[in-house]
């Protein structure tokens, strides 16, 4: 398939989103807005310890409290074998999953679920939690990734068998991965300049505003209905079915509107608990996490430490890179080490590369996905050291990147050879942008960084139903996080040749539409979009057949043009074109309903590249960093709806700035989390940010009919290093560890002043 070059009516325009009115008027139903009559309420008892053996749990007092209807612990879940099973993009281990949703032998982090109660009111459920008597034997804990790798560190799971890592002793290292290309020894031998550094980032939360929420209702015949805020209703169905031993056909999951996910809602926490409680009680059970629970118990992304070494010629040609990336996984294996290793230097054409990574258990909540999982972390290291190289060589950092840029035909260290990609264009546009030439004042600095993300396709199903009045309904199966309904409707309108406002996109529950992989991997507008385009084409084919029937000609004598069936040529005969509305009105007589459908496992996702420019001003007396100006250039393939593409770019940049400057988990010496709210977990507020300028490069993906590439993840890859590089440019001090919070930066500035004074 190649992307069609044609004039578009809807693609590339800025239409009002179909979910917009409901969202601004408050009518939209988010997870916690859902209620059923007869509903009762569930709450979770959580571990106060970072690491402890559960000696006993006595729930009798809680069960005796009037109003309490059920209490569950891990005893109510059957254990699962330890094996990796495919689930969508990756593999899951249900033995770990059942222990994460309800602690079994041990609690492994502060906030780990230990029991759950359903009661007639939230207040009674909370009182009941206080009556559950859990006896713990507190164990030593480990929070830091480097500490967890040391001999003698507390071990989270002494039965864990590491993958790709040989050891006889119990270890927290769950996995080791390696990627290589060429011969790095030779590469470094050919280098004139070699730099080696160590970097560190903190674990950060996705910061979605909407806490996890669910209502589950299990009927007497074992049929379960679940309403929840999730990035994947099919994922919830699979996981709940597996954890509770229920057949897939007995579970129907309806996703609510979603108040942010960013990867954090690609897993289950409350859904299996609410479903089990409901099946015990025979009533619908509602559960909502508090913000504190979200921070203590839901998965952030990894923090990591890493070593990078880079070699280059005096002319700036990079000859070799080696890297070791150590990512904390939280309490169960699954840090995004492989993507971290694969993405680190993917923007560059480097002949000799060796990158290895470790997936490391620590006493924190199990990590979950966060936009471009792993890539921002490794890119912080890689893009910082590239910046150091530019400084060492006395070269403009963008020129250095351009000289080494991956292009069509470049073989990436992680395997594939790139097709058409727009990385170089992002550098060119950044270099030509007036931002890059604007003068800087005192204490101000400028940094740049690039980033790469694969993007994915995946299983996608879509239905396009032609209504009797000539309008259409598009049913797809992906929760809409970033405006995807608008984009899907625009693509359907484009294919059908009707007004955008005549297409109503809806998101089906698990029983209304074929399987869809979850909303993640920047896949929806690309992959589900492709299924919608194919489903619309299927409807068009049927419309043409109906016209052929009416005209009594062969079906291939009819073409679809601008919303009308027309004779393919004058040889077919002279007929007045038939509009979609006219054909829809006669559908009953010409063969019945017209329903286009498509289902496929979409391949051919086009990778995304981005280059960002960041200006900061540093207050040398307080260490405060203000971001003055920020420009994000990105290859977006084709922007179906430019506003929502820009929104993705801006949001990613802001999240990355927060990651760079202030976000971190603060643990007490006991391993309990101290900043469990947005007051002390400091994501940026609106007044912290300048307007983020999004610049779109459109290098179409030749494997999508409109050239779409995923756009939602790569904008979070460059900002961490862009900010750190800007701070270095402003102060001369290189911050090798994030966050660059005021106290940390001031300490670094002061010690560099002392060093300078001594010299």
């Amino acid at each position: 398939m190649s992307s069609e070059r044609r004039e578009y009516k809807w693609v590339g325009t800025r239409q009002i989103r179909p979910d917009g009115h409901d969202k601004v008027t408050g009518r939209a139903k988010f997870g916690s807005d859902f209620s059923l009559s007869g509903m009762i309420h569930g709450r979770v008892l959580r571990s106060p310890h970072a690491h402890a053996l559960i000696k006993s749990i006595d729930t009798s007092k809680a069960e005796a409290l009037p109003g309490v209807k059920a209490v569950i612990t891990s005893k109510d879940f059957k254990d699962q074998p330890s094996e990796l099973k495919p689930a969508g993009e990756g593999m899951v281990n249900y033995r770990d999953m059942t222990r994460n949703v309800m602690a079994r032998e041990k609690v492994l982090y502060d906030g780990h679920a230990v029991a759950a109660v359903a009661a007639t009111t939230v207040e009674i459920a909370e009182s009941a939690l206080k009556l559950i008597d859990v006896k713990y034997e507190v164990l030593p804990h480990v929070i830091d990734v480097d500490e967890a790798m040391k001999d003698g560190s507390p071990i989270l799971d002494d039965k864990m068998i590491p993958i790709g890592y040989d050891t006889k002793n119990p270890t927290n290292i769950a996995k080791h991965v390696e990627f290589s290309l060429g011969d790095t020894d030779e590469g470094f031998a050919a280098a004139d300049v070699v730099i080696e550094r160590t970097y560190k980032t903190e674990s950060v939360h996705q910061g979605y505003i909407e806490p996890h929420a669910v209502v589950a209702s299990v009927s007497e015949d074992g049929q379960a209905q679940i309403w929840c805020c999730t990035q994947g209703q099919f994922m919830v169905r699979t996981f709940v079915g597996q954890l509770l031993g229920m057949p897939t056909s007995s579970i129907r999951v309806t996703p609510s509107e979603i108040g942010g996910g960013f990867g954090g809602k690609t897993v289950v926490y409350l859904e299996p608990l609410a479903t089990l409680l409901s099946s015990k009680v025979g009533k619908p059970v509602k559960m909502i996490m508090t913000r504190e629970e979200v921070f203590r118990a839901s998965g952030p992304t990894s923090g990591g430490s890493m070593d990078f070494k880079i070699g280059a010629t005096n002319e700036g040609k990079i000859t070799a890179v080696t890297g070791t990336v150590r990512l904390l996984a939280g309490a169960f294996p699954g840090a995004p080490v492989a993507p971290a290793c694969m993405c680190a230097v993917a923007p560059y054409d480097i002949p000799n590369v060796h990158i290895q990574g470790y997936d490391v258990l620590v006493n924190r909540p199990k990590v979950a996905a966060y936009r471009a999982p792993g890539a921002p972390i490794s890119a912080f290291g890689a893009e910082s050291i590239v910046d150091e190289l530019a400084k060492e060589l006395g070269m403009d950092p963008l020129k250095l990147r351009k000289l080494n840029a991956a292009k069509k035909g470049t073989k990436a260290a992680y395997g594939p050879t790139f097709r058409d990609i727009g990385y170089e264009e992002t550098i060119d546009l950044a270099m030509d942008h007036d931002h890059y030439k604007a003068p800087l004042g005192p204490n101000q600095g400028r940094g740049v960084a690039s980033g790469f993300w694969f993007n994915i396709g995946g299983e996608s199903s879509a239905t396009v139903n032609i209504n009797e009045d000539g309008t259409a309904v598009v049913i797809s199966g992906n929760p809409d996080i970033g405006g995807s309904r608008a984009s899907l409707a625009m693509m359907a309108a484009e294919e059908l040749g009707i007004e955008y406002s005549d297409v109503r996109p809806i998101i089906g529950d698990t029983a209304a539409i074929g399987y869809n992989f979850l909303t993640g991997g920047s896949r929806v507008t690309f992959a589900t979009g492709l299924a919608v385009v194919e489903a619309a084409k299927d409807a068009v084919r049927q419309l043409c057949e109906r016209a052929a029937k009416i005209w009594e000609v062969d079906a291939d004598g009819v073409v679809w043009d601008d919303g009308h069936a027309k004779p393919a040529s004058s040889n077919v005969g002279e007929f007045e074109p038939l509009s979609l509305a006219a054909l829809a009105a006669q559908a009953a007589k010409t063969g019945g309903p017209i329903c286009g459908h498509n289902a496929q496992n979409v391949q051919g996702a086009g990778p995304g590249f981005a280059t960002h420019i960041c200006d900061v001003e540093v207050d040398p007396e307080t260490g405060n960093v203000s971001v003055l100006r920020y420009t994000a250039v990105q290859d977006v393939g084709r922007a179906i709806h430019p506003s929502y593409v820009e929104g993705q770019i801006q949001g990613g940049a802001v999240q990355g700035i927060g990651w760079a400057l202030n976000e971190e988990y603060i643990y007490s010496s006991n391993g309990t989390l101290e900043n469990t709210g947005f007051l002390d977990y400091r994501i940026p507020v609106a007044s912290d940010m300048p307007m983020i300028e999004a610049v779109m490069v459109e290098c179409p993906n030749d494997r999508h009919p409109y050239g779409v590439r995923g756009v939602g993840e790569v904008p979070l890859v460059p900002p961490l290093a862009a900010v750190a590089n800007a701070v270095e440019n402003a102060t001369g001090v290189r911050m090798e560890a994030l966050p660059i919070s005021p106290p940390r930066l001031l300490a670094a500035l002061d010690s560099s002043n002392i060093k300078q004074a001594a010299e």
Partner: protein, 290 residues
């Protein structure tokens, strides 16, 4: 949670009677921007909540004939910020008050609430202390007036006795050659709690020499501090470099901060000196403007 009584007295005496008669824990409600958050976080379980906003005296901001002000304890920051007189006379007091929270919070947040919440980091308090403000307290034994700095005795604890509450504040007339300022450090630009706050009120003579000064620091000790050595360091000077570094050192020496998730001892101490220098510079500019 047990049920909570809610009362809306219209006079000071009614409020005092309600406070005094309450069986369990009675809480005053002004703007509620602390109280409601604490209720929801289950930090408090009051038996009765007494909304003082229906008592006229708590809701009035008056400029008196001698140039001083009487500020009702429940006046919101946004209301004061809209007034030309007080914002011109005491820009530092308004700064401390008006940077609380966000626009939404500003529509509610009061001086009485900020002071009686008794956080060492309350933003309005250092500038009130520097300006020499006093509070009018009503209680079963009538009224009493005490300096703002005497109200908080420990984090979360005030000197108010059972049955007492703050009715209003007294803010002196702006002295000739006077200027004030408040600065705080937060890692973000809003919606954060001061890592350090510094309020300054000074007067200059015609030659630009500091005649009087009062310097107050927030968030660096259990309660808001008055740093007399800092004032001494600049009184009689033209704020030359030596005076400024003495000021900085005096502020650092006065700090008794804690290490917590919001800041380290070392950082808070250093920043206290920095903010004091900067706030004094702003106050002096304002004093020079007349």
């Amino acid at each position: 949670m047990e049920s909570i009584e809610f009362e809306k007295p219209e006079t000071v005496d009614q409020a005092v009677a309600l406070l005094q008669g309450a069986s369990g824990n009675a809480k005053i409600l002004a703007g509620g921007t602390d109280l409601l958050v604490q209720l929801r976080a289950q930090m408090l379980e009051p038996s009765v909540i007494i909304d003082i906003k229906h008592i006229e005296e708590t809701r009035k901001l008056t400029k008196n004939s001698d140039g001083s002000y009487t500020i009702g304890a429940a006046v919101a920051g946004a209301e004061a910020g809209d007034r030309d007189d007080i914002t011109k006379d005491w820009p530092g007091v308004i700064e401390g008050w008006e940077l609380i929270g966000s626009t939404q919070v500003q529509g509610r947040a009061s001086l009485g609430g900020n002071l009686c919440n008794a956080s060492p980091a309350g933003d309005s308090v250092p500038a009130m202390v520097a300006a020499g403000m006093t509070v009018n307290i009503a209680g079963p034994n009538g009224r009493r007036t005490i300096p703002v700095e005497d109200v908080t005795v420990a984090p979360g604890r005030t000197c108010l006795e059972k049955g007492e509450f703050v009715v209003s504040f007294n803010l002196p007339a702006r002295p000739a050659g006077g200027g004030d300022a408040y600065l705080r450090l937060i890692p973000r630009t809003e919606m954060d709690i001061a890592v350090v706050g510094c309020g300054v009120a000074i007067t200059l003579d015609d030659a630009g020499v500091v005649k009087t000064a009062k310097i107050s620091l927030g968030a660096v000790a259990a309660t808001v501090l008055v740093v007399e050595d800092a004032a001494k360091a600049i009184i009689g000077t033209k704020l030359d470099a030596d005076a400024m570094s003495a000021l900085d050192a005096a502020c650092q020496a006065a700090c008794k901060p804690i290490d917590d998730k919001r800041g380290t001892i070392e950082y808070r101490t250093k920043i206290a000196g920095v903010l004091a220098r900067r706030a004094v510079t702003i106050a002096a500019e304002r004093a020079g403007e007349k």
